[in-house]
Subunit: 492 residues, 2 copies
């Protein structure tokens, strides 16, 4: 077997695996958007059968042979081989029994969590949470082979990231965010928008806004779901959104966020389609795209001026009088219990808290029985408010119920990367705010497509950002941006 | 390995295969209803990958071992084993290369047929059609092992059916249908309905009508697609319909037809879920359900009286004055070129013609180059009209392009079975027309559910109908029904 032949066979095998992963992903989309409710149990069996097929492929021993013999000449080929090797090593290190048990427990845990949250009963969730943590620890032990357990888990979402590096960055960020938060909250908040925003009008507006951002409807679609998400890749990446009739920004900014994720997938070089390079390289880089679309671009003075025009045409002036009042309303800073509703100033403080708590849970330093108290104490210390009920506290996020330990820090990493990219974008595209104010996103999203998105998984996450920015990423640009933006808004 | 264990392992393996088949089916539904157009090529690879997975499972050599050792005690288990054995024998008799070539050619042939039809160019389709026929003949030779080629193909859609038996039945049916047709066409046709029937109103009405028929929306849904179809099974069987604004009966009766198919799937005993008994037993029995829902029930005097009320409330009286005029309008008999638009009197004459032509094609007695002339001559002889263009002639149906030779006769078989079932239903449920006139379908569909649908694949197709009717099925009841109905309508 020549090296070229091994590489070709490996890539052909991988291509089918990617195709099957696409099928499983489409099934997940259907489940959240279209599936009749009575089909849930049957769908569970269908998903499990697909999972069995995928697992068999991902642990196929021929992969080891192909990997040993493959020696592609070009960088893209070498990277593809490295990514397959990484995935193969992770999958084969975990015994099938453990992987199946994890899948079984987390699939029921989500329902148990949802009920516990609806009924505000922490105790109903704790036994399951304990089980999930124990299983994820076992998995991490298989993966870490003596190394840090949390790092082994995080590596699945953000290859190469470590808790030490992440924790040090958070330690540098916290004082500046706490100081900014304190200064802002001493000032009077700007007025919020007022009005009734009908569901169909919000949906039509969201589709229009997605179009302004260049979302390719010929390769995607937008539907309603309980939670906004993006799904799929290659030439089929779909978005969901939701509508709260009193709060149109929920729908609009959820949509823009998902357009960011989906555009990343859709804009990857077609040469990488159905290869390991054909999807977003990490959760952190993915989140950098959704966040920069949503925040740095979408909540900036330029784009909000355009959005004000679109909304005023549909809904009148909304009680804010001008584009400037509208910009201030959109960027109101308010303490709140819920991470997903947090403004740009508060958001990362939520993440840092979860990071510390979940590290302690995985290390075994914090028992699940003590989690609620630990959460509430920490929240009071960081946010200055007592948690009033579990759904506003440790039961608010789905992540831990489905075993996502090590995932939360990628949200802040995404914000940090978005800060770096926005600095580089402004240097590269002069007058980008004026373009955005005119409803022209092509300069901004074109730069991101060209410098980040089209490269897919070609480089490591950090190298992907460094390549785009021309400098090594750090938290500095994000903090500078936040202090400048909210300093100006609040007259600090 | 004890027999019980072999049976249990076989059924567990089969269950996963059924689950994966459900996934593939759902993907097909997505393709026709939701998929963004730019995803088509990628979807082709996804479908091919799923097909590869399914083929590997269906030819897994362990199945032969399990089949040899399995010896279940009960009838349902024995039937399940027989159905798996039948499928395994069919799949393993055809070389993989041939199966793949057939899949490849028929998948492109459909597009070639669609273009040829749109451009009315028979010659553009003939080379592909010749290829499809040659490949299907090769497949039939593998399956028939010396027997009749056409029978081997038909057996896939209607197990146990033979061209000889089917042809003899058609020969008995033809004179009575021709005589009925001739007598009816000598009379003046009743008035058609008039009006404009807005798309949304038609869709809302179709959903209401599906509800009247007991369609279970908690395990299904109705969407728009280019062609009406039903898809899926178990607890997830979905329907599509279409709207022609000038002809509301297109949407309503397409929907009712698909509700018949879908109800059959949804009403199968839950104990058979994801087993070989858990889906409709044959195309003929499937069509019997769609046809009796659509014709014997849906176009009868009882149901149309109820439908007249529903439509008059939405659209006014439609120029027909009364429920009786409405019933007459729905049952207008008119010659026409298109099978799918044919009335109950003409429909089976279309099928008989296709049956004879495709048998000659498969036998090699008719060359594809002579097909158009043969079609047009036969049409003139049977229908008394010259075909005016290929889209009204041999290019009208998709079936041959996708290799469906031996499928057409199951449509008439479905009508024949529907005739038998309607006779038995009337004997078993007195006053069923009065119930239908009151908008109560429960007597009719309840009887079908109990006597046909819930049994799924438990018995052979013919035994399924005989069990429900209490007599061996034949064409007599259908012909009696047609002569009585249209004799009364046209005063013969």
């Amino acid at each position: 077997m020549t090296n070229n032949r091994a590489f070709a066979e490996l890539m052909a095998f991988q291509r089918q695996t990617e195709a099957l992963a696409g099928v499983a992903g489409r099934l997940g989309w259907d489940q959240e958007t279209m599936m009749p409710p009575g089909a849930a149990e049957q769908r569970g069996e269908e998903m499990a059968a697909m999972e069995g097929v995928m697992h068999a492929r991902r642990t196929d021993p021929r992969i080891a042979d192909w990997l040993a013999a493959a020696d592609p000449a070009d960088a893209a080929g070498q990277r593809a081989v490295a990514l397959i090797a990484r995935s193969y090593a992770r999958t084969t290190k975990v015994p099938s029994d453990l992987a199946q048990e994890l899948a079984r427990v987390t699939s029921t845990a989500q329902g148990i969590w949802a009920r516990a949250r609806a009924e505000e009963k922490v105790a109903d969730f704790l036994p399951t949470l304990g089980q999930v943590i124990a299983l994820r620890r076992q998995e991490a032990e298989c993966l870490a082979q003596g190394g840090d357990l949390y790092d082994a888990l995080m590596d699945d979402y953000e290859p190469g990231a470590t808790a030490e590096v992440m924790g040090a960055m958070f330690d540098r960020m916290r004082p500046r965010l706490v100081a900014l938060r304190g200064a802002v909250l001493e000032k009077a908040p700007p007025a919020a928008i007022q009005g009734h925003f009908a569901k169909e009008a919000q949906l039509a507006l969201s589709r229009e806004v997605a179009g302004v951002y260049g979302y390719d409807f010929s390769r995607g679609r937008i539907d309603l779901a309980v939670h906004p998400f993006s799904s799929g890749g290659g030439n089929d990446s779909r978005i969901t959104t939701r509508v709260v009739e009193s709060d149109p920004f929920n729908c609009i900014y959820s949509t823009i966020h998902e357009v960011g994720h989906s555009s990343y997938e859709l804009n990857i070089d077609q040469a990488y389609l159905m290869t390991p390079l054909g999807s977003g390289v990490s959760m952190g880089v993915h989140e950098s795209q959704s966040r920069i679309y949503e925040n740095q671009i979408g909540r900036g003075p330029g784009f909000t001026a355009h959005l004000y025009g679109l909304m005023a045409a549909r809904f009148g002036d909304m009680g804010v009088g001008s584009a400037d009042g509208f910009y201030r309303a959109i960027n109101r800073v308010q303490p709140g219990f819920i991470r997903t509703e947090a403004d740009e100033v508060h958001y990362n403080l939520h993440i840092m808290m979860r990071f510390d708590l979940e590290r302690a849970l995985v290390r075994g330093d914090l028992a699940v029985g003590d989690l609620e108290a630990a959460w509430n104490d920490r929240f009071a210390a960081d946010f200055g408010v007592q948690v009033d009920r579990p759904a506003h506290g440790m039961l608010q996020d789905v992540h831990w119920s489905v075993g996502l330990f090590g995932y939360f820090p990628t949200y802040t990493l995404g914000n940090v990367y978005a800060g770096c990219l926005f600095q580089a974008l402004n240097a590269a595209v002069p007058g980008v705010e004026a373009q955005l104010a005119a409803g022209d996103c092509s300069g901004a999203v074109g730069w991101l497509r060209e410098n980040v998105q089209r490269h897919g998984g070609l480089r490591t996450p950090e190298a992907t950002i460094a390549h785009a920015c021309g400098f090594a990423p750090s938290e500095g640009p994000l903090l500078d941006y936040l202090e400048a933006k909210f300093g100006a808004l609040y007259g600090l």
